[in-house]
């Protein structure tokens, strides 16, 4: 059964899946041996809005931790997908092309974006946050968003 850390602001519930790692740029990564599954966090999809388009790099392309590997266009803005890990893209979620809003509906599940074969799994972990640490980062960002909205 999936476990989440949760916090609420107004009516919005923000979730962080406990078995993933995270970046400060609000991407998650789930590690299974040498394969990383990558997606957008619940916080990011809520703040950025409903996804309209996705541009991805092809399987076989190299990805480097922190570098851009595609773009997401939402009803509010366009932003880069920043790779949380270093390795080679082995799969792009085939459902993304027809249904990019899976990122909004199920950001940690069917809304995954890439599977990446890792070059240096232990080295990548240095640049990643554990779920409970990302949870604190996320709560600060939520506070900031609220201040921006309401002063």
């Amino acid at each position: 059964m999936e476990k989440f850390l949760e916090t609420t602001y107004d009516k919005f519930i923000f979730r962080v899946k406990t078995d993933c790692f995270y970046t400060k740029d609000d991407f998650w990564v789930y590690l299974q041996g040498k394969i990383a599954t990558v997606g957008v966090t619940d916080f990011q999809q809520k703040v950025r809005g409903d996804v309209v388009f996705l541009e991805t790099i092809k399987p076989g392309t190299e990805a480097k931790q922190g570098q851009g590997i595609g773009t997401i266009e939402t009803i509010k803005a366009t932003f880069e997908i920043l790779s949380p890990v270093t390795g080679k893209v082995v799969e792009v979620n085939p459902d993304m092309y027809e249904n990019p809003y899976l990122i909004n509906q199920d950001p940690y599940g069917t809304g995954w974006i890439y599977r990446i074969e890792l070059t240096d799994p232990e080295g990548d972990k240095v640049g990643l946050l554990k779920a409970e640490d990302y949870f604190e980062v996320m709560k600060e960002k939520i506070d900031q968003e609220a201040k921006n909205l309401y002063g």
Binding site: D10, K11, L149
Partner: protein, 137 residues
């Protein structure tokens, strides 16, 4: 993080498809949310609430909620009571217009200056209700 939250009031607007009062309801609610009481109000999307939206239902069960309906069918009030069990206040637009002596709008959409007094009057009633609910604490 804000764990102790300043109380906010949920506003549930009826959908009001096919009647001018439905459009009036939506515009007045948005005016309250965006201009008259920003920071004190939260919109509860009625269709999402009905369809099982966890966030909408959780908020409505924990925080005060005001429903605003465009006609006597009272869909927002009834659906809120059915699904979250309580509402703090129920506003019915024809009653507000009658009280303020304002004519019902005739257009279904694309409201302009002619409809502005009706939108303002209803928005003010909603804002007053928000203040009363917050005061009751």
């Amino acid at each position: 993080m804000i764990d102790i939250q300043i109380t906010k009031v949920g506003i549930v607007s009826c959908s009001g498809e096919g009647i001018p009062e439905g459009t009036l309801c939506r515009l007045a609610c948005r005016k309250v949310l965006d201009e008259l009481r920003p920071g004190e109000t939260v919109t509860i999307c009625l269709p999402l609430f009905i369809a099982g939206g966890e966030e909408e239902r959780t908020f409505a069960s924990r925080y005060p909620t005001i429903t605003v309906d465009g006609c006597e069918k009272l869909c927002a009030a009834k659906a809120t009571e059915m699904l979250s069990g309580k509402l703090s206040k129920s506003i019915l637009i024809p009653e507000v217009l009658k009280k303020r002596g304002i004519a019902h709008p005739a257009k279904l959409r694309n409201f302009g200056p002619e409809e502005a007094p009706a939108v303002q009057a209803v928005a003010e009633e909603i804002a007053k209700a928000v203040d009363e609910v917050l005061e009751e604490g």
